[in-house]
């Protein structure tokens, strides 16, 4: 087990910056998830840990050893690739044993570790098969097994579930989580799927446009997103955003938009100041909206149900508020139908306010 420390790491391909001034410490035994849209630099960061990409500037350490110039084979890491990357000419047994053989591990020990790993990933009866004789799910399990058998200091996983069907993805997700609980090895896991990130990671590093946007436990990212990008990326369905303008000051301050006037929650008063005309963006999660009165402080707006997506226990309502398509998750008991005119309740205490220019989430005061 080991820590992984990025210290102002930058990676450039010519003039293109793939990872920009990335600083992060991954704790010993932690399950860290790098999440973000395609091209945000998450896989490049993972590949830098593996030693498969050179670092342009900054230092990367595994444990207390700076590994910038250390080849992959000497980093004591194991990696699970998105595309499996199995050795097609070797049996499952040999795929699993390959890394151990290269390290000249005793034959009996190899046999023991391969069989133990095969048992963990339920591949014992497939050990003599070649990769081409396996299904996609089995191949991905071999790729996992190949990493497990090495007993490395750090596991690196590059979107290992993206090639699996929905059911298998849920199963394998649980397997990886169990594996981490059992081995307690540091895992760095890359995904573009925020559900995967939220369900698996002890901490999540959200990346966008080569920069680290925020790092923290899933709950913290969900409840206190640092900026509009994180707020929109974390949570499904995504947070609703309404551009507004500040009007008035003190207790009479309101946030206005087309046909809608929302009292400025008192905990934002000190953050927004008293600049009439200041531009902000309100963020409200779909699950915080309702068509029935809310328990806390709220405001209401009349809206017509545009589309209703029935999900069994709940419904996704698409309504238009101030010219913006807003999604609300409500209980299926509400029995909303398309074209129903609704009173939508917006909770003031769960509302986020972002600066329209910097897109930073404004801090709430204690009062």
């Amino acid at each position: 087990m080991a820590t992984v420390t990025f210290d102002h790491v930058t990676k450039k391909y010519g003039e293109v910056v793939a990872v920009d001034d990335f600083t992060l410490q991954i704790q010993d035994g932690e399950f860290m998830v790098f999440v973000g849209p395609s091209g945000c630099g998450k896989t490049t960061s993972l590949r830098m840990i593996a030693g498969l990409e050179d670092i342009t500037t900054g230092t990367l350490a595994i444990g207390d050893k700076v590994v910038n110039d250390i080849p992959p084979k000497d980093r004591d890491i194991a990696m699970v690739f998105q595309s499996y990357a199995l050795y097609p000419h070797m049996s499952v047994f040999d795929n699993l044993a390959f890394g151990l053989k290269l390290r000249k591990v005793d034959k009996k020990e190899i046999d023991r570790r391969v069989k133990e790993a095969a048992e963990t990933i339920q591949l014992t009866n497939l050990l003599q098969r070649k990769p081409k004789e396996l299904s996609g799910g089995q191949r991905q399990r071999v790729a996992l097994g190949r990493a497990i058998v090495r007993e490395p200091a750090v596991f690196l996983m590059d979107e290992p579930l993206s090639n699996l069907d929905a059911k298998l993805r849920v199963q394998t997700r649980a397997e990886i989580a169990r594996l981490h609980q059992r081995l307690k090895t540091t895992i760095v896991y890359v995904t573009h799927d925020q559900v995967e990130a939220m369900t698996m990671g002890q901490r999540i590093a959200v990346m966008s446009q080569a920069k680290l946007q925020q790092v923290g436990p899933p709950q913290e990212l969900y409840d206190h997103p640092a900026n509009k990008f994180v707020a929109g990326f974390i949570g499904s369905p995504s947070m609703n955003f309404l551009p507004v303008e500040l009007s008035g000051s003190g207790e009479t301050a309101v946030l206005r938009t087309d046909g809608l006037q929302i009292p400025l929650p008192s905990h934002y008063r000190s953050a927004v100041g008293a600049v009439t005309g200041g531009r902000f963006v309100i963020g409200i999660r779909p699950e915080h909206l309702d068509v029935a009165p809310l328990s806390g402080p709220s405001t209401t707006v009349q809206a017509r149900a545009d589309v209703v997506e029935y999900l069994g226990n709940e419904e996704l309502l698409h309504v238009e508020i101030a010219g913006t398509d807003v999604v609300a998750v409500v209980s299926a008991d509400r029995r909303v139908r398309p074209d129903d005119v609704l009173t939508v309740h917006l909770p003031l205490d769960k509302m986020h306010l972002f600066d329209a220019e910097t897109e930073l989430n404004l801090p709430r005061s204690a009062a």
Binding site: K73, F81, Y84, A85, Y87, F98, G99, R103, K130, E133
Partner: protein, 280 residues
């Protein structure tokens, strides 16, 4: 619709007929060669020629093998072809792996230089090659043949195998690197087994080129004991009376190792070596 189908049917028949005609053009001389090799001397030039000999005999084979130290020439050819093929395939595959999978300064220039060696006709190089071989003391020796044959095939081998190594999934080599493989292990344990079909192909090409080579052998060898099979077969052709039965029997004997090699390598010429390595 029917007209289109009929035209397609006709096209298929024409293509088939052309293929049969082409096949016969290739096959008939070979069939006549085999037939003549089994004919007694008196029947070799009979008109019209018979494909199936009236009285087949192995005399030509026995005479070809026992006259003129044919066994020694055969052995010389085996030594030269096996050694030069081994060198050309080993070096060619290493060069190809480096050109395909690693980036280093001058890579394009070096590969271009290697390709250039394939563009220059062999005849143009004979005189400089002769001078160089003489200066290196490689004339009139099997070692001289081995070196020249190995280098002669190196460009093509590298070019062909570079394509094979280049088409292999990058992730497989990255996985090997993370698993602990260095350059040599990646080449030997991953690259070579996955390039089996390509290596089998260049092995056959290199062996054939060395086995059949005549010009450099006749120029560089003066000691009769070092002669290779093409020179020996040529010696059956005489200005006054060529013994075609002997020539063809000797040619068939010379063909045997090539056929054996082809059969031995045949199972390597399979596609789909990468199936299962990666998704898709």
């Amino acid at each position: 619709m029917i007209g289109l189908r009929r035209r397609r049917g006709l096209g298929r028949w024409l293509a088939f007929a052309a293929a049969v005609a082409f096949g016969l053009v290739m096959l008939i001389p070979f069939a006549l060669m085999v037939s003549t090799a089994f004919k007694p001397h008196a029947y070799v030039l009979e008109i019209p020629p018979r494909l199936i000999p009236e009285a087949p005999t192995l005399d030509n084979f026995v005479e070809a093998w026992t006259s003129q130290d044919f066994g020694r020439y055969f052995l010389n050819s085996v030594i030269v072809a096996v050694a030069s093929t081994t060198i050309a395939v080993t070096l060619g595959s290493m060069l190809a792996f480096a050109f395909a999978r690693y980036s280093f300064p001058g890579r394009r220039l070096l590969f271009g230089a290697l390709l250039f060696t394939m563009m220059v006709p062999g005849m143009v190089l004979l005189i400089p090659q002769f001078v160089l071989a003489r200066n290196l003391g490689l004339l009139n020796s099997l070692a001289g043949l081995i070196v020249v044959y190995a280098t002669m095939n190196l460009g093509l081998n590298t070019f062909l195998l570079r394509g094979f190594f280049g088409s292999m999934p990058q992730e497989v080599f990255e996985a090997a690197a993370v698993d602990g493989a260095g350059v040599w292990s990646s080449f030997w344990l991953i690259g070579v087994p996955l390039a089996r079909a390509g290596i089998a192909t260049i092995t056959l090409f290199s062996f054939l080129a060395a086995w059949d080579e005549f010009t450099w052998a006749i120029i560089s060898l003066s000691d009769k004991n070092l002669y290779t099979l093409p020179i020996a077969i040529r010696s059956f052709q005489r200005a006054q009376a060529t013994e075609w039965g002997l020539v063809f029997a000797a040619s068939l004997i010379a063909l045997a190792p090539v056929l054996v090699l082809f059969v031995a390598l045949q199972k390597q010429f399979v596609s789909g070596a990468f199936v299962g390595a990666t998704k898709g």
